[in-house]
Amino acid sequence: MNAVPGAAMVATTALAALVVLLLLAVAGEHARRNRQVARELARRARLTPLVHDLLDGEPIDGDDALDPLLDEMVLDLLPQLRGSDRDTLTALLLERGVVDRATEELGHRAAWRRGRAVTLLGNAASPRHTPLLAELLGDPVADVRCAAARALGKTGDPAAIGPLLSALVADRPVTAGVVGMAVLDIGTPALPELRRALGAPSTVVQQMAATVLGLHGDPLASHALTTTVADPAAVPELRCAAAEALGRIGMPSATATLCAVLDAGRRPALQRAAATALGRICDPAGLDALVVGLGSPDRDVRATCAEALTASGPAGRRRLAARDSGTDATPAPRPREAQAAR
């Protein structure tokens, strides 16, 4: 065992040296960071009036105009601006070569450098970069793929819809939430492409299209969505998404289909989605189905039907009260949830 204490002594000395080095590094870093923070605060205070001048369309010059921090401040500000202010700052970034440098960084080895470049191009919001950004939807690093999706959303370019939806089912997929937010960011120009996507071969893509069309309240999608809800061969999650979308769109033409789904009583999740949709549509023709739904064996379906009746306006609330007091002619039991939901 004599060799062991000797080795331990050497190791202890090495560890102690490492501890001392770390302590010195921490002290040095602390001083450096404090100085850096103070300097940056002072620089920002100096540069802020220059940014205001830029927004007013006034030329800037002097040493401060060359400060790279000015580019960062403009980039921080860009997502909060719209219209001519945004155009002014985007043009400035182009002029100062910031956008070109970011484009070169798209192929950088470090994932975070690619990600930051992608974010910058997204903030620049130019459709010129759509193909480059779309390529990065297949990046090996998930964070870069997500950043590319977000950036494509910010470009507002409907040409990005196809690559974004494809990214949902790619070998290296982008998560549904990120794609959803990006597609929503593109806005109403995305609607024609989304309507077409309702007929896509992938259920995941169809589901995303249905959800976003519903959030946009697109009446032109109503027919296709109604067909999907009524299709017993469709995947249940897709039918739920379509039912929710119909509720958001609010067209009474969907009432009959939604009532049929609610009455069928086979899938509680789908029934709940149909009941919520009927509550949103507020069509008097849907009230009977909702009152019948109050007698569903599933507790959550009963509660959702009660909520939907409450949301259906005075007529719905009257039916709920009548069911409560036993004067409603529609045969259904009176669950406690219906009373509580009022």
Binding site: M9, A11, L22, L23, E29, N34, R116, T175, A176, M181
Partner: protein
Amino acid sequence: MTRERAVEWVSPLLTAVNWTVLGYVVVLDLAMLLLVVTGARRLVANRRWTGAQGLDQVFASPLTPAVSILVPAHDEEAGILDMLSAALSQRYPAYEVIVVDDGSTDRTFELMAEKYQLAPVTARPTATTQVDGAVLSVHRAGTGDPLTVVRKVSVGRRSDALNAAINLARHPLICMIDADSLLEPEGLLKVARAFVEDPVNVVGAGGSIRPANGALTDRGAVIEPRLSPRWTVRIQAVEYLRSFLLSRTSWAQADAMLIISGAFGMFRRDLVVEVGGLDPLSLAEDAELVVTLQEYLRREGRPHKMVFVPETVCWTEVPETWAVLGKQRRRWSQGLAQLLWKNKRMIGNPRYGAIGVLAMPFYLVFELLGPVVELVGLLSVVVSAALGILDLGTAAVMVGFALAVGTLLAVTVVAVEEFVFHRYRRGRELAALLAAGILENVGFRQVHSWFRLRGLAAALMRREPVWTAMPRTGFTTAEPDALAPSR
């Protein structure tokens, strides 16, 4: 048998025990160092992405699910209003706060009623998880704040209060926080981001916890993190950095999150209801919920991703005295023993992935049994010395080596804090943190082991789980001129 014969017989055994215990301590510290370094790498990578995570999009998106913040409160008059100020100032599109006043005997309810003009309403349950203490009344804020307060009879268990809150939660996500905790303004948004971006797979997420004792606050917002003058708190600050920040970052990377702290954790409500809410008998109900969800979802072959968001901080009050710290750590140890015993089939079971093969064995060997090994080691050294078979020189060298590894671990943790976050702006705070990290190995660690050992003993003797409330001191309010310049 003569004394010499006895010494001759026992000497190899004691020597073997001494070396084994020393090896155990070194391996434990090296394992922690590995976790810390892995976690630090992730934090450095995350830092580079600052500003590119799309938080504004998450905030503005209609796809972002609403959150119910659930707060169990028992005798929390010292900090309840600060906690509510922080919770109700969240930058988040849609949320509600449900406080369960769990049989408070102080002015917890009166303070809330006065500030938020609480008015009684009819309870409208959305779930039926088990609640043993009777719900007395439900109140809603008359000030327009999305606040619901439930008064219930306490049965002395945090899980009971949380289940009462779950039964009234209306939103798809639930976020549990402690009543002595302050959530940062974007805390909810940063943690919910994981659910928004990956709604299919993510089922739970947690943020990091830091001690709020000594920090300067203003209406629930931490203006400047500072360290308490008490060394027990300072040492816990280092401990929280190591265990609640860096280790969990590493475990999450390995898809082996065993604990999402009860002080700040977010879950999908439907799944929590599906598993019956929180275990009413567990003393580690937060870890119990994570393990239950993992076990259930993995068994069913459903998505089970747990995420840790290290950049999100929830500031919480930690024990300031040894007595209170002892009670807390005994409870944690007893709760861990309960948890591992209840889920023993998962330990080492590859069916449960990295949780079964990595996290649970680690917690069993190093967290639960650690104090036993350390006690055996201490006894063995004492007996060896008494019998005259301890080579003091060798012992000193080996203890020095173990201390050096422990010190390196503590200093590395503080270095990561400084290089990545730089939260403590004053030099003296940083110096105190470093000193606390070094002192942790001498005294604190041994007393801590004693507390844990007693917790383990309580679990082995199957003592009735008792959730003891911690005395609160409240938060330090910042005076206008209190923010000293950084040095």
